[in-house]
């Protein structure tokens, strides 16, 4: 593999579990994917499917115990992060590897001025003086389009709206121009109009800095808008992976198909006549960590389930780069989903 195509991040067989009173529970099971420079990968799934645990495993931000990485490798910046010690990780975090979180209201320190919070990684990793770092923090606030950046840097987080705080988080995460940014549901807590602004800022800065982005979301609208490639996770497993166009053109896993069907649309059949249409949903919920069936975990909720599904289907490549783990992937969207795909 030559330098140009060498991935920024290569996750291979990542398995993360929690030691609990009910024994060891596996939250992420044999997850593999890789990410090229400047690429945006979306990881999609419902709450509890393991996407946040996967992200926190890469950042090594899970509390150990109870969480621990049970297997696999996380190749990044010439190292295996799965084996890295805390000193190595704290040297990488905020410098080459950054993360922004879902809750902008609580992710910032309420008793520290936002300018200083953005300046901290610069002081830590770039060795900047407090003054130089604060000056750079104002530039970053300007980059994330916060008006009157110099004055705003002196504000405490409670003086800012959710959208502004999330922009502060982005400024903080990108201050040291990392190679990889993990954004865990960055717009979920925000109003729709603010969501679009924040995504646009994220995309512009990514283009400018050339960072690869892992975008964790359950919002397929966001995925369609910003992702290059998509990994669909269910109950800790990767069940499908494809570039964004082929995924939306032809999902190969019934779970992906169910997610797509449950997105509300204005021009849904029946709407034109003024009637109300019940939004198709995926019946049931993601099974709890200790209640996962053997074989394919989606069986209890799957319209296509058959006896064969008691055995875990392997990931199979259906077209170049489009992988799915389902025995019935050819039937997905054909019968049950007629009129939608």
């Amino acid at each position: 593999m030559n330098v140009a195509t060498e991935p920024v991040l290569a996750v291979q067989g990542l398995t993360t579990g929690f030691d609990t009173a009910r024994g060891r529970l596996v939250a992420v099971n044999d997850l593999s994917f890789s990410l090229a420079r400047g690429e945006t990968l979306a990881i999609v799934g419902e709450s509890g499917c393991g996407k946040s645990v996967a992200a926190l495993s890469i950042m090594r931000l899970l509390e150990t115990p109870p969480a621990l990485i049970l297997g696999g490798t996380i190749r990044f910046a010439g190292r295996d992060l799965a084996q890295a010690d805390e000193a190595t990780m704290s040297g990488l975090r905020g410098a080459k590897l950054s993360m922004i979180f879902q809750e902008p209201m609580t992710a910032l320190n309420p008793s520290m001025k936002v300018g200083l919070q953005i300046a901290e990684p610069l002081m830590r990793h770039r060795g900047l003086t407090r003054e130089a770092a604060l000056a750079r923090a104002v530039e970053m606030l300007d980059l994330v389009r916060i008006p009157e950046a110099a004055r705003r840097a002196e504000d405490y987080p409670h003086r800012m709206s959710g959208g502004m705080r999330q922009r502060v988080m982005i400024a903080m995460a990108l201050a040291c121009e990392p190679d990889l940014l993990i954004a865990d549901e960055p717009t979920t807590a925000l109003d729709v109009t603010i969501q679009a602004q924040v995504l646009e800022i994220l995309r512009a800065l990514q283009a400018r800095m050339g960072a690869a982005v892992i975008l964790i979301t359950h919002d397929l609208g966001v995925v369609a808008e910003v992702a290059d490639r998509v990994v669909v996770m269910y109950a800790g497993h990767k069940v499908e992976e494809a570039d964004v166009a082929s995924l939306f053109a032809r999902p190969r896993h019934p779970y992906t198909h169910g997610l797509m069907r449950s997105v509300p649309r204005v021009n849904a059949p029946g709407r034109a006549s003024g009637g109300r249409v019940r939004l198709p949903e995926i019946a049931g919920i993601v099974p709890a960590l200790d209640q996962r069936p053997p074989g394919c975990p989606f069986v209890p909720r799957c319209p296509l389930a058959s006896a064969r599904c008691a055995e875990m289907p392997p990931l199979a490549e259906h077209s170049p780069g489009h992988w799915a783990a389902c025995w019935h992937s050819d039937a997905v969207g054909q019968a049950a989903g007629a009129g939608h795909a």
């Binding site: 040297g91 992710a107 320190n109 008793s111 520290m112 901290e120 409670h158």
Partner: protein, 308 residues
Amino acid sequence: MPVISFVALRVLRIVPIAFGVVTIIFLIFKAVPGDQATLMVGATATQAEIDAMRVRLGLDRPILEQYVSHMFGLVQGDFGWSSTFRGNPLPYILARLPATLALMLSAIALTIVIGVPAGVVAAVHHDRWIDHLLTGFVVALLAVPNFWLGLMLVAVLAVQMGWLPSHGFEGPASLIMPTLALAARLIALVARMTRGVMLEELRKDYVRTARAKGLEGRTIVVRHVLRNAMIPTVTVIGLQMGYLLGGSTVVERIFAWPGVGDLLLNAIGMRDYTLVQGIVVVYVAGFMLINLVVEGLYLLINPRLRHA
């Protein structure tokens, strides 16, 4: 600007509170059973002496008139006629105040220097041996009454070892034992409080954000968590001021400390109602002043209050 109006508002708010509290104290002393004049002149006094005392104390006048002249007197610094001092007791109370203040301040200082770090260390090493050890100490300190601790300190450090003076005020060394006796319980409370708050703060999202920036454990605790944890801790220290005032009375008696608390116990023994009432008024004023300082500290620590 908002800071100034915040302070002004709270200073102004003290006035009606002080008025109400002083009125209640006046009524309580009126409600005390028995005749003050009889108690003050003693059992062997003649009726003429008792009547003279009644006139001197103003007890011959209607209660409303007594109240009005009492309030006017307080405003002008006239606390009435004390049998102990044969006149206005205020200068004598104020003369005792520095000793009590020194004791309280050194107890608070010791509390902050020992209690806060102990709580932080216990929280950072949550559920490890040092946490269990410190928590054990805290429970022990909370269980020990301050008069017992004071007596034990005197018995061991002063009488047996002869390291420290057992009573009175003979230079800074005299401050050590009374401070320990007074601060012990507060140290334990603050350590426990700090530990609990720190554990709570350490679980918050902003700590994870700080880790995601690459900051290391000590930096996160010192720069991020401690300040947020101090907000409730300052509240607890402020609320315990009342305990310190009460505790100082007992501790001052044990160590013959020349403070207001010692004077208060003497006044009760002498049935000097005017003096007791005067000391209570001074305590109330002090307590309200302390609360004001604590609120000022909130402003300093918690930026969210500054714009409220």
